[in-house]
Amino acid sequence: MSVVVRGAKNAFRNWLRTGAVVLILAIGIGLSLSMLVAKQAVEARMSDLKSQVGTKLTVNPAGAQGMQGGGEPLTNDQLAAIKTVAHVSQADASVNFTLRNQDSSSNNFSFRGGQQSDASVGITNLQSSIDPGTLGRRFASSTSNDGTAAPANFSLPIRGIGTNSSADEQGNVYKITSGRALVGNDTTSAIIGSDLATKNNLKVGSTFIAYDTTFTVVGIFDQGTKFANDTIAIPLAQAQQLSGQTNELSSVLVTVDSIENLNNVSDAIKAKLGNGKVDVTSSQQNIQTAIDSLQSVQQVSLIGFIAALVAAAIITFLIMLVIVRERRREIGVLKAIGGSNRTIVAQFVVEALVLVILATVVGMGITLVSSNSIANALVSNSSTLQTQTPMPGQGRAQRTFRVDASATPFGRATSLVGQVTASVGPMTLLWGVLAALGIAVVGSAVPAWLISRVRPAEVMRGE
């Protein structure tokens, strides 16, 4: 019989005690692994959220967005200034313009297409693919020069964008379904939305007229919405020139090198272009709140993991201390008949390993059952805490109140956090086994080593 077999047999000397020890350790290890799984699940969710927020900022003239609002347009110089801001990896400018159908423009109904000046509104032979409907007619009437109702043959204006980027002004990359994207040396080339192309029987290579200029369709894109698929995109310089917006930009889409620098870059752009002159927006705020919420859960999970692991190690240590002390005489006898300290320590380490490995197996089961619930309970609890907002002017004891989560930015953050899916992967399994082995070795070797140093004469004295 080897020391390994003897150690393993010793683990089952007392079935009742073995069962109790395994159960206690399994709870500790299971809780520890659940925390680890929760931490990993939260990390995965954070990474997912970070990938959602991207690293984009949109710079608009202060008070304007798209073709609505007021203020002064951005300029090419401002674009150049934005590109010099630290951590800006890319800045793509765009200019918006509106095209009226030549038949609509021939009747007396004068539609301005929002508040954009007439000079920037061009004439085209294209017809919008969107049926005006009630909303379109209401919008057209409210923005017509004299407030008259839109006629029956009224056609919605077509939204155009001048850009040198492969993405629209929202930062969504054009999904070209046919042909190609715009390239640097294009002048009278255009890419058009799929619905607009279908409505006007346009294909790659077809031509259309805008601003009295003939454009060739080089690509057709599908952005997934009817609104976006009713637009056209032409090179930026061409759009600026034809729409009378030379040196003017409607918006700039800024790509920042990392999500952590978004706020700093936003502040730097505002400072560089002048406070109050530009609006810088990103979807980061809500997601940052969600990430902050998850970060606190991540920390709680990490602390919980370490605490549960330490607790399991202490339990193992105490159990092995009791077992070792109980077998003090036996250890003395083993030494008296020639057992070395190393052999005795190894025997107890094997015994502890058997107990801890059994507990790990049971703990894995506990983890499988509980990790998802624990992760979501932690996330839910943390998100609720985040929605508790300080109320100014109230006493210290009453400084928080519950608010409708869905109606606040924090509420949106909560919904962004969503459900965290915890799963026990191979790495978790590996960590679990390694942690368990570490617990077993440390928890048993120390007391066994301490007791093995006792002189065997004490056994004789006990006789």
Partner: protein
Amino acid sequence: MLKVEHLKKSFQSGGSIVKAVNDIGFTVKTGTFAAIVGKSGSGKSTLLALLGALDRPDSGSIMVNDTDITTLSDRKLTGYRRSDIGFVFQQYNLVPNLTALENVMLPMEFAGIAPATRTLRAQELLTQVGLDEAKQHRKPSRLSGGEQQRVSIARALANKPKLILADEPTGNLDSQTGEQVFALLHDLSRTQGVTIIVVTHDLGIAGKCDEILTIKDGMLTKISK
């Protein structure tokens, strides 16, 4: 040859120093069956522990075949206990979850003897001490006191020691079984030339030994043959 000279061992007990072994010296020739007798607390078990290298003396020497074991390192002492000494305890001290056979195999495992060899030798030894094959596979709790002591003696003989130290080997046995165990030890000393030192307070048993060392208050008061 076992030669003890000026052996001393003291313990601290309740603020005072107890001289458990106080300047003891004697010589025991190889193959001798010797008894150490004395009242309870006279120091005989402490002397046995020093002879078996289970404890270190404060001073003095214990020469075993020209080697002073009091000067050996802990590792060498483990080797000495493993190869040269066999212990028989009053409480038997068998490992409870091992069978009789496995208990006897244990010292051989520590000595690095191959499993097949140690199984064979353990079976031989148990047969020699009178434990039949069926009982060899029983755990100690299913053996009588006398049978457990026989297993203990077989375990002490496992690594063919030069010296067997027995502390009250018949103390927990009825007189008939005690005599049988004593006879077994006596027979071993004669047939195998093993030096045996038995601690006992039974003067009847001691009287059958080759030498009797009488100890009183930690001092050797009499050596009789």
